[in-house]
């Protein structure tokens, strides 16, 4: 496709000059789990509905840097490339350990990608990870780089007692983006739908995010996911039944189920990537760790639609097609389901300690 024209009047689909795709992928989820009923026990005397079953909690020695390194190593194990061939290491998160000082240099150093590489951190609430992926597509698709590493990882914050505390989880995924002919899943196209919508935010120096409560639903999550998904259908002339799987940003169990139904997907197309009931909302990692669970079991030729959502707000939609090169790849690193099954349940008090919720001054 020519870069100066659009192949559709309304939808400005992003397609690369040269085919690109996922050469390696890797997930990471910390082992600790806080059941939602524990949060309800402390804050609502156990009454009221629960948005998920349990969420993942990072251990005392874990943060977005260490977790990104875990996922990146898994992605490299599946990509089977020399880390020095990575020309970008990009980490999307809203819980970077430092306000100033990149997470990405820590990751790049740890995996051996330094010094001849780009490195930077991305921020777009929960879609920082897919934003890094789209940038990596451009980097590779223009042949500026053979490989680029895009990561979405979070240790999400929820104010004690807030609705978000039930779901704010930890985890994410890393992707080695590379040439289409080396890909286990080719990324056929992407489309982003962005508006200025203040549904959720965290101001500078604030410890916890704030949100517009019901405003986060219809005018934010659903508007952007559905708009991006429908635009993608239109631009690619595809229908829900053309896809084996669909995966969405998943802040709770109901939203992605409803978004899937609104776009015309059946529950069985959505359930494989729907991890939020068991690990919580991993923010920048949420949609893409769902994608890793799909890639763990996908067959060549199957199509996947991914639509992320980041508050503020926007959605990145991508269409992926699994290739023959998927064969044997899932076994090369820890599968997503293994991370999810590996669980140590904690109570609210342990959670308070691990997450540093009790500060005396």
């Amino acid at each position: 496709m020519e870069t100066t024209t659009h192949d559709h009047e309304h939808v400005r689909l992003l397609k690369t000059e040269h085919p690109v795709g996922i050469v390696g992928y890797g997930a990471y989820v910390p082992r600790y789990r806080l059941p939602a009923r524990e949060v309800a026990r402390i804050w609502t005397a156990g009454t009221g509905g629960l948005p998920i079953e349990e969420k993942s909690v990072p251990g005392l020695d874990e943060d977005v840097a260490t977790m990104s390194i875990e996922a990146a190593r898994n992605a490299l194990a599946r990509a089977q490339i020399d880390p020095r061939d990575l020309r970008a290491v990009w980490v999307g998160s809203e819980s970077h350990p430092y306000a100033v000082k990149p997470t990405s240099t820590i990751v790049a150093e740890a995996i051996g990608a330094v010094p001849s590489t780009q490195a930077a951190d991305w921020e777009f609430a929960c879609k920082a990870g897919t934003e890094a992926m789209v940038a990596a597509m451009g980097f590779v698709g223009s042949q500026m780089a053979r490989y680029a590493l895009a990561i979405g990882m979070d240790t999400a914050q929820g104010r004690p007692g807030d609705a978000l505390e039930y779901t704010a989880g930890a985890g994410g995924a890393a992707f080695v983006i590379g040439p289409g002919e080396e890909s286990l899943a080719e990324i056929e196209s992407s489309y982003s739908f962005v508006t200025d919508t203040p549904d959720f935010w965290r101001r500078q120096y604030a410890r916890y995010p704030e949100h517009g409560q019901r405003f986060t639903g219809e005018p934010a999550y659903f508007k952007h996911i559905i708009s991006a998904g429908e635009a993608m259908f239109e631009a690619t002339n595809t229908k829900p039944e053309d896809y084996a799987y669909a995966v969405f940003h998943q802040p709770n169990t109901k939203f992605p189920q409803r978004a899937g139904a609104m776009l015309g997907f059946k529950p069985e197309q959505v359930e494989t990537g729907l991890l939020v009931p068991r690990i919580g909302n991993t923010y920048s990692g949420a949609a893409i760790i769902g994608l890793t669970a799909i890639l763990d079991i996908a067959e060549p030729g199957e199509r996947i639609m991914l639509v992320s959502f980041g508050s503020g707000a926007g959605s990145d939609a991508m269409v992926l097609r699994v290739t023959d090169r998927i064969a044997g790849k899932p076994e090369l690193a820890t599968r997503t389901e293994e991370y999810i099954s590996r669980r140590t349940e904690i109570d609210y008090a342990e959670y308070v300690r691990m997450r540093g919720k009790l500060t005396m001054k």
Partner: protein, 386 residues
């Protein structure tokens, strides 16, 4: 005969209008009312609103909305009486037109609640209570209604879910109203299993906060052309009465005395008895308010209002239909704009334009709005003009 007639009505759907501001909502309702009245233009605008200052940082609604509607030059001001704001604006419009000082008055109820998060809205609504002695102590209108309901259920030995019929009736009726926030009948078992908001009130005992605007264009019948496009509804009676602001200052908190007096006075002016009304648009912000309002209007004995929720008399085919287009519970509760919706809906009934919710042969309607627990009560008697 007061000779003041409702020449036009307009309303926006009641909902969370994320994409519409206070002024856009107001404009839609005003334009609809003027269009309904065949393009009649007002000399005065009276705006009923409670919370634009607290939630939208906008005061001076008279000038703002007259300006936005292209009506600069007319007389305009906002009237505030908590939940009864728009009903009070209707009364002011009625007085202005009846006096002969104003020929055509536009009455607008408008409220924009969804610009702030629910906790802030609840806190702002509590400004309608006594700030020093009630709100300051943490009391909200919902908590206060729950206390009233608790006392009522105890005092009169009301069985479990004894108030459910008010909510179920409202939802059944709202299903016929295209402007209602909730358009689905609710089964008793759904009511019974709903989450408690403030014991003993559950989610279905409490009207949902929402955005909306409704408008009525008032004039004197003789000023209209002989072949007016639709039947005229007359404001035959109008009364506003106050009670103590704080609930604890009343000798009997379970009596809505201002509601009683305003019904008596409005009916006396109209020359009717409450029983002559074919429907009663009462203020069901909370199910307990419905019971107490029925008692205050004299439709039932003290402590027996809840029985009406059980016996079907309040349904569309009953002796005294209430909340005929969904009431506050199903149509939604757009704060101080509510009274305008109630009057617009009663007008639709009397014109025979209420669709599936039509009360057959309705000729007289009682319409009552409350500010807080009837600290203000405004009642209008509407009749189909002869």
């Amino acid at each position: 005969m007061t000779n003041v007639v409702i020449a036009g009505i307009g309303q926006t759907p009641v909902n969370e209008h994320w994409d519409l501001s206070l002024r856009e909502l107001g404009l839609q309702a005003m334009e609809a009312a003027m269009q309904d009245a065949g393009g009649l233009r007002p000399n005065a605008l009276y705006v009923g609103n409670m919370l634009s200052g607290a939630l939208s940082h906008q005061a001076h609604l008279g000038a703002m909305l007259a300006d936005f509607a292209g009506l600069t030059g007319i007389e305009a001001a906002a009237i505030e009486a908590a939940g009864a704001s728009a009903a009070m604006a209707l009364r002011v419009g009625f007085l202005a037109v009846a006096s002969g000082q104003v020929d055509v008055a536009l009455v607008l109820g408008v409220e924009k609640l969804s610009d702030q998060v629910p906790a802030q809205v609840e806190s702002a609504l509590a400004m309608g209570t006594d700030a020093d002695y009630e709100a300051e102590q943490g009391l909200t209108l919902t908590a206060q209604a729950a206390l009233l309901a608790q006392r009522y259920l105890h005092e009169f030995k009301v069985p479990e879910h004894g108030l459910a019929g008010f909510s179920l009736t409202a939802h059944a009726n709202g299903a016929h109203n295209p402007n209602a926030m909730f358009r689905k009948a609710v089964k008793p078992e759904i009511y019974a299993s709903a989450a408690i908001v403030s014991a003993p009130l559950n989610m279905f005992d409490i009207a949902p906060n929402a955005d909306g605007a409704a408008a009525l264009l008032l004039t004197r019948a003789e000023l209209l052309p002989p072949k007016f496009p639709h039947p005229l509804v007359e404001i035959a009676g109008s009364s506003a009465v106050t009670d103590t602001l704080a609930l604890h200052d009343r000798p009997d908190p379970l009596t809505f005395n201002a509601a009683r007096l305003s019904v008596e006075r409005a009916c006396a002016q109209a020359g009717i008895l409450p029983n002559d009304a074919d429907l009663f648009e009462l203020f069901d912000a909370f199910s307990i308010y419905s019971a107490l309002s029925l008692e205050a209007a004299g439709f039932s004995e003290r402590g027996q209002g809840w029985v009406w929720a059980r016996n079907g008399a309040i349904r569309l085919d009953g002796d005294l239909p209430i909340a005929t287009l969904g009431g506050l519970k199903a149509r939604g509760f757009p704060g101080g704009a509510t009274g305008a919706y109630q009057a617009v809906e009663a007008t639709l009934q009397l014109r025979g334009q209420a669709g599936g919710a039509q009360v057959p042969g309705a000729k007289t309607a009682l319409v009552q709005s409350l500010g807080g627990p009837a600290s203000t009560a405004v009642t209008h008697v509407l009749t189909i003009a002869q």
